[in-house]
Symmetry: C2
Amino acid sequence: MEKKLRTKDKILQASIELFNQVGERQVTTNHIAAHLGISPGNLYYHFRNKEDIVRQIFKEYAKLLETRIKPPSDKAEALDALACYLDAVFELMWRFHFFYANLPDILSRDPALQQDYQQVQQGVLARVIAVLKALKQSAVIQIDDDDITDLAHSIKLLVTFWISYLKTQAPDQAIDQASVYQGVLKVLLLFKPYATEQARPRIARLQQHYEDLAR
Amino acid sequence: MEKKLRTKDKILQASIELFNQVGERQVTTNHIAAHLGISPGNLYYHFRNKEDIVRQIFKEYAKLLETRIKPPSDKAEALDALACYLDAVFELMWRFHFFYANLPDILSRDPALQQDYQQVQQGVLARVIAVLKALKQSAVIQIDDDDITDLAHSIKLLVTFWISYLKTQAPDQAIDQASVYQGVLKVLLLFKPYATEQARPRIARLQQHYEDLAR
DNA sequence: CTGCGACTAGAGTTTTTAGTCAATTTGGCG
DNA sequence: CGCCAAATTGACTAAAAACTCTAGTCGCAG
C-alpha cells in the first residue's frame, strides 16, 4: 500500500511500455509477468485477464483526454486553442501509441472496450467541430457549414491512423516523438487551404513551430 | 484441370469471401476448408500456410491495381482521370476490404508481404502525385508545389484507413458498397478547398455523382 | 506470538489453431 | 484394364497462449 508503486500499477505501467515497444498483440500476459519478475498467477490476481489490463489503460487514457483537452473557452484565441489541442492530442498519442498502432484489431476483440471507445470519440468529434466553428467565427478559416462535420471526420481519421500509416510505410523504423509530430503537421495541412488571407502568416508560424519539433 | 474452378482457386475465392465477411484474423485455415467442404490437409496441399494464401490474394490485388489504374494519359482531361482513379480504387477497396480493415495487423505478421506492400504503395504515391500535378497544370486546383507530396500522403492515408475508420466508428454495421463510396466523397472534400473558381462547378458535379452512389 | 488478509509463486490445465502425414481416391493415358 | 501421379482425406501432433489452482509468504493488528 505504501510502496512506491503497487504491483497493480507496476503491471499497468509495464504493459504500456511493452505494448508500445513491440505491439499489444505480441505481448502476452506471461511476457508482462516475466518482464516484472513476477509470476503469471500474480498478474491474474490483480487482473481478470489481458482485456482487463487493456481496458484499464484505456480508462486512464480517456481520463487524460477529458482533463487535458478542455472545451475551448470562448475567450481564448481560437488559433491558440487549436495549438493547445494539437499539443495535448499528440502527447497522448505518443504515450499510448500502441493503441493507435492497431486500433481495429484491439477493438474487435473487446466489444465493451469498443463501446467505451465510441463514446469517447463522440465527445472528441464534438470538440473538433467546436474548434472548427471557433476558427471560422474568428475568421481564421473560411468554410461552408455543411463541410465542417466532414472536415472534422477527416481530421479525426488522420489523427487516429497517423501511427498506423507510418507503420505501413516504414515498419522497420521505430515510432518516435518526431514522427508523431509529423502527424500534427499533416493536420495543419488540412486546415491550410481553408485559411483566410489574414490568418495565413499565423498558421505558417504554427507550422514552423511543429516542424522544429518534428525532427 | 478442366473443372470450372480448380480447388486452388476455390480456396482463394472462399478465403476472400470469408475474410471480407468476418475478418482475416478470425478466419482459420480450418474454417476455410470446412466452408468448402474439403479437408484441412487438402488446403495445405495447395498452400504452404495461411500467409501463403494471403500473399497470393495480395498479388491478385496488386495486379488489378497495376492494370486498372493506369498512369494518366496527358491527353485525357485531368478531372476525368481523377474520377477514373477514384472508381478503380474504390472498386478494389470493396473487393478486398478485409485487407483494409486490419492492414497493420496483417502486415506485421508477414514481413515479405510488408515489403511487397511498400513497393506497391510507392507506385501508388507516385501516381497520386502525378494526378495532382495534372490537376494543377490544367488549372483545376491551385496548390504550392511543396504541399503536393503532403496532400498525396493525406489522400493515401484517408483511402487506406477509411474502412478501418468506419469500423471503429460503427463496428456493428456491416461494410457495404455505399459506405465505401462515402470514402470517395471524403477524398473529394480534401480537394475541394484547393479548387479554382472555374473548376468548382465540375467538382460539385463529381461530388453529386458519388453522393448518389453512396446511399 | 498468532492469526488473518493481502499478496505471490509457479507448475499445470485448457483451448485453440496451425500444420503434418500416411492412407486412400480419382482421373486420365498407354 | 491397370498404372501412376495428382488430389484428397481426416485423424493426429505441436506449439503457443490464456488462464487456474494450490500452496504458500509477508507484514501487521490484536
